[in-house]
Assembly symmetry: C2
Homo-oligomer: 425 residues x 2
């Protein structure tokens, strides 16, 4: 008779999870090699995007990207050698999120790759993301690998990482105010990061100055500045690490139906729910409305992984699309459609973000806290901005992804099973 | 019988003037003391905003600002002394635009003040604008003067100007691509310049780096970087100089009814028309819809001059308001109103800018080329963004200015008189 109805428990739990998402204070504290800081990362571990799969299940571009990662890391001399070693378990493939990491597209991490270390100062948890490779269409995270890709990755290790590590030795960089500001400057912080990159660069400039006084550092500092100058996307990985730290803070609240993760691998789209433990609920790949680079069509697209949609789980990306009308140059559509799509997201979220705000909605907060049951009851899935990978490697376009409902209904079924008193609709 | 009708002459002339406005290529070439580069500027000249007036006609805050300028320049020991010298003609007050300059609010220039030198590379003409004083509410251009204001102006002379001059010795900075880009980053380049300031700072950073290697420059470079960091408005004067160079390129096309200048002094709003020579056509002050800083109301506002509305004459500011939803935090209103106001401007302009584009209008070009006759026939005057000055000195708010029709009807009458065959409606 004194039992609390599950709806009440859920409401309380969602309020708690939501408070954690909007209250998170992600701060960039450092840069280090993944092998030195990522929990459970060994010299022979390779991380990749999406809900965990066994090695033999990885196919196509994502499988190739894993093999390329092994070659890049020097764990194997050739792709064939890498495949044999993975088959024998001498190299182990793991899901990024099993290690507090977050993956862009294929999301390949090896032990020597540098990562951003982002701590949620409000709740103490830490997340990691490796670095943006630059604007070439061909990048390891898009399943491409050659001399140039390897050289680019090596440059990140030997130049970008030490320069940023030195800069950060002077103190952490709070990311939330910077991200909130970038939304007022036309970013939505998933597919558009131009303003955030500018703001980060400006934030680091005095530190880069201090570093550049010694001849030892000067050339490297100049190269890093050139990289920022050339790469409007450079902030994305930092935004992803911030979003991952934020979403993780809200994960694990018993009874909460808040979605704390969305992830893609070569086989599935999957979600994770705050109150449903570490299980990923899996479904088919999203539908996509893309704008393809010249010479490519939807037929050339391939799913090779992707977790940048963590930004949508914290009220950014598709949840803030109305901040970024310029995005239509990249991914197509019209501003009217962007406004309508963004507006529709309020129907599946628990609240409006107190700090991430949308100028075009007269500074209304972004829709935040995607509620599993709201998705299932409306049939409306979260809008995701994203880059598109091609079968033959490389990025071939960008667009809007619409997850199918199946992963969500699977999660709702699990919720109902775990909490039998629940009447979710 | 073979005479060309005036309408045809006007159409041809307007096409030419418009081509000059949209084809201008403003480039920042240098920084120098006004006395060294501004044509006709003497050590005892003081420039101020608005259509020219005789010295005794200047009243209130604009008059005070002129006197303060004389004291700052060392032309007089006190305000009373300055007044006597102006009365005797020992100090001469002139209108900025008689000297290819453009004034922010009161727009005070003295000979030692540094100016940006902006050349229109397409047509060869040059324009000047002095520097932003920083974000204090109290600035000489808002009619304030004290020790702090004087120190700030001196710092611009002794630190900002030499540092920028050295940077620019490495080569000019093209402004049009930077300004076009800022429109995609949430600026409208009159009342919002945050992105343009960021982009300018990034553009200059490598040059600042080069300069900072010598101990002699290092401290000054750091101070300049701090100024940019603290002042999101820093680009405005550069944008005004670019707009002035652009508008000047379109001025003086016989038969053209294109408006090539709008300017405010303490007594009047005035316009200049491409085909009507150097005459300013004068009318009453604009109506204003303002958002006032705490503690102020419209009753505290005072007209003390202003020519930043040159940005509107080239397709920016109010003509690009839909680019800058964040502006409503500063000047009030709603995004819906901003869209509607901006949209309405297409009815009084000759064309759409090929490079200045509005993401929220699906990248439609900004309305550009304000046509005198379109203004008169629609009764719709150009929308102007602007800061608001207070009676007791200082900035007290910001808002949208709507010029009255009288200056425009006066100009239309002059046009009809000069071209009697003209049927303008």
């Amino acid at each position: 008779m004194n039992e609390t109805p599950v709806e009440t428990l859920r409401e309380k739990a969602n309020a708690e999870a939501l408070a954690r998402i909007v209250g998170a204070e992600p701060v960039l504290t450092g840069v280090a090699a993944a092998g030195d800081v990522v929990p459970g990362m060994t010299p022979t571990t390779i991380l990749t995007s999406g809900a965990p799969l066994e090695w033999p299940e990885y196919t196509g571009g994502q499988r190739r990207a894993i093999l390329y990662g092994a070659v890049y890391e020097g764990l194997a001399g050739t792709v064939e050698d890498a495949e044999a070693k993975l088959d024998r378990g001498e190299i182990q493939v793991r899901a990024t999120q099993q290690h507090d990491c977050i993956g862009s597209v294929a999301g390949i991490y090896t032990a020597s790759m540098p990562v951003f270390v982002v701590r949620d100062d409000a709740h103490g948890n830490v997340a990691f993301c490796n670095f943006y490779e630059g604007k070439s269409r061909f990048r390891l995270n898009y399943g491409s690998y050659d001399r140039e890709v390897a050289d680019g990755l090596r440059w990140l290790e030997t130049t970008m990482a030490p320069v940023l590590a030195e800069c950060l030795a002077a103190g952490p960089v709070p990311l939330k105010p910077l991200m909130a500001r970038a939304l007022r400057l036309g970013d939505e912080l998933h597919s558009r990061n131009t303003a955030a990159t500018l703001l980060l660069q400006r934030e680091l400039t005095p530190r880069l100055f201090d570093l550049a006084v010694t001849a030892e550092w000067r050339t490297r500092v100049e190269e890093v500045m050139d990289f920022f100058q050339a790469n409007d996307y450079a902030f994305l990985r930092l935004g992803m690490a911030a979003a991952k730290a934020t979403a993780d803070a809200a994960h694990g609240v018993e009874h909460s139906s808040l979605i704390t993760g969305m992830a893609i691998n070569c086989r599935e789209f999957a979600i994770r729910v705050s109150g449903l433990g570490d299980e990923w609920f899996r479904g088919g790949h999203p539908e996509l409305q893309g704008r393809f680079f010249d010479g490519f069509t939807e037929a050339d697209a391939e799913w090779i992984g992707g977790e940048s949609c963590v930004t949508e789980t914290v009220g950014l990306g598709g949840m803030a699309q109305a901040c970024a009308p310029s995005l239509m140059n990249y991914q197509g559509g019209s501003f009217e459609a962007m406004l309508a799509n963004n507006e529709a997201m309020y129907s599946i979220t628990l609240s409006e973000h107190p700090e991430y705000r949308i100028p075009a909605f007269d500074f209304r907060g972004t829709p935040v806290g995607i509620d599993l049951h709201a998705v299932v009851s409306t049939g409306r899935t979260p809008l995701i901005d994203g880059g598109l990978a091609g079968r033959s490697g490389g990025q071939i376009g960008a667009g809007v992804l619409r997850p199918r409902i199946d992963a969500f209904t699977a999660a709702a079924a699990a919720y109902a099973e775990r909490h039998p008193a629940s009447v979710v609709f």
